[in-house]
């Protein structure tokens, strides 16, 4: 059995130790917010936080997660009580089809610097097929750094 903490809750997994983290989250724990895009580590859709750091859950067998702390997009804020970052994505059209958003939000939630250039570098491990990125960058810069009045 593998024990880990997911979104603050202790969880046990009794299935095969080489099942991928993304599949355990979605199929065994019912956390379907995390999406699989490429399954090759390239697109970032499956990003979750492992001990606070962004990681591709499509590249992690669950046996490596014993005792680790996982956070998924569900930890940010449930519908109706969205976090400021999630609200900013809504306000600034940072999401269209929405497939990239769960992963993007997790990496964005950990960015230390939130200037536009730092955000572009920080989010470089995420692909979005819809927005063209401008609105995503804006959603992040405006959420975390309130605009100053001139």
């Amino acid at each position: 059995m593998i024990s880990l903490t997911v979104n603050g809750r202790k969880r046990n997994f009794k299935g095969p130790p080489f099942k991928r983290l993304i599949d355990v989250l979605r199929e065994d724990f019912g956390l379907t917010g995390t999406k699989e895009g490429c399954g090759e580590g390239e697109c970032g859709a499956c990003t979750v936080l492992v001990d606070g750091k962004p990681a591709a859950s499509c590249l992690i067998p669950i046996c490596q997660m014993a005792g680790r702390r996982i956070e998924t997009v569900e930890s940010l804020g449930p519908p109706g009580r969205l976090s400021p970052l999630q609200r900013s994505f809504q306000e600034h059209a940072g999401t269209q089809c929405g497939f990239c958003a769960p992963g993007l939000l997790m990496t964005a939630s950990r960015l230390k610097e939130t200037g536009a250039d730092a955000v572009r570098v920080g989010l470089s491990g995420h692909l979005c097929r819809c927005t063209g990125y401008m609105h995503i960058v804006e959603s992040v810069t405006k959420a975390t750094r309130p605009r100053r009045k001139r």
């Binding site: 080489f18 991928r20 399954g39 090759e40 580590g41 962004p54 990681a55 590249l59 046996c63 990496t107």
Partner: protein
């Protein structure tokens, strides 16, 4: 289709000693560190039905230690840890820079230095930096421990000279005797993030006061089946005063040590041309 988890067996050693004995008892097992190379294959269905030796529980191999001679970097140290470590950044900045361009944040948080070496990709970004720093790869197996000079760790594309049952424990890098006059790390890829290198270079040069070259070390990745030091150019410039002519002559010698190919990422001619420009710009400053 992706591999099937039911068909996989996982061995989970909790110490270096246990890892070595489990590997000796299961010589067909495949070591697993951060999984950023292996899991891609597994997801493509190319590595199913295996026994995995999951090294993630081996704490001894997770730290960066200072020794009298230099740094000893545990095989399981991640690219993010290398990138952020103040001592690595100060003493071996080319390695910190290389680690910071491996994939993107999610890959750097999981991928390890030991995995980058053991995977033996000609394009692995840390290898040119390790080559100019003259790193030694420390391994362990039931036969004991040994140290391999970095360049001798590779036998070909995706092939190492590790023996069955042998694991990388650490990478030792000696402090430089003197601060280099100039240093360079440069990855040339198709885009800024998540690009596999078309060519990747690391260089160190020491000059006398009158611009005579005391020592040049220059390494290239993606330019041959394994990472290469430019021995012919390095030897030729030693003891000579830097000039445009000398740089041009050094560039002419590149094909003695590298043999780039055409592939889906680039052409041999482009790779050679860019690498020559990198060397020339580096020498002339």
């Amino acid at each position: 289709m992706r591999g099937c988890p039911q068909g996989m067996t996982v061995l989970r050693p909790q110490s270096a000693g246990e890892a070595v004995s489990l590997f000796a008892e299961n010589p067909a097992a495949r070591p697993l560190a951060g999984g950023t190379d292996f899991m891609v294959l597994w997801n493509m269905g190319e590595a199913d039905g295996q026994t995995m030796l999951d090294l993630s529980g081996v704490r001894e191999w997770r730290s960066i230690r200072k020794t009298a001679a230099g740094l000893s970097i545990g095989a399981l140290v991640t690219h993010a840890e290398l990138r952020d470590d103040p001592v690595v950044r100060r003493e071996f900045p080319l390695l910190a820079q290389a680690a910071s361009v491996v994939g993107a944040e999610q890959i750097q948080n999981r991928g390890t230095l030991g995995g980058n070496i053991a995977n033996a990709s000609p394009a692995a970004d840390t290898l040119p930096a390790l080559a100019v720093y003259e790193a030694t790869v420390k391994t362990v197996s039931r036969k004991g421990a040994r140290g391999l000079p970095l360049l001798q760790t590779f036998a070909g594309v995706k092939r190492t000279s590790l023996e069955p049952g042998e694991l990388i424990a650490a990478i030792d890098i000696p402090y430089l005797p003197k601060k280099p006059y100039r240093q360079l790390f440069r990855k040339v890829g198709t885009r800024a993030a998540l690009a596999i290198s078309k060519t990747v270079a690391a260089g160190l040069v020491w000059l006398e006061r009158d611009r005579t070259v005391r020592e040049l070390r220059f390494a290239l990745g993606s330019m041959a089946p394994t990472v290469r030091r430019l021995r012919a150019a390095e030897d030729m410039v030693r003891g000579k005063r830097l000039s445009r002519e000398l740089a041009a002559e050094a560039c002419e010698l590149l094909p003695r040590d590298v043999s780039p190919i055409d592939d889906l990422r680039s052409t041999a001619a482009y790779r050679l041309h860019v690498s020559q420009n990198l060397l020339s710009d580096f020498l002339l400053g």
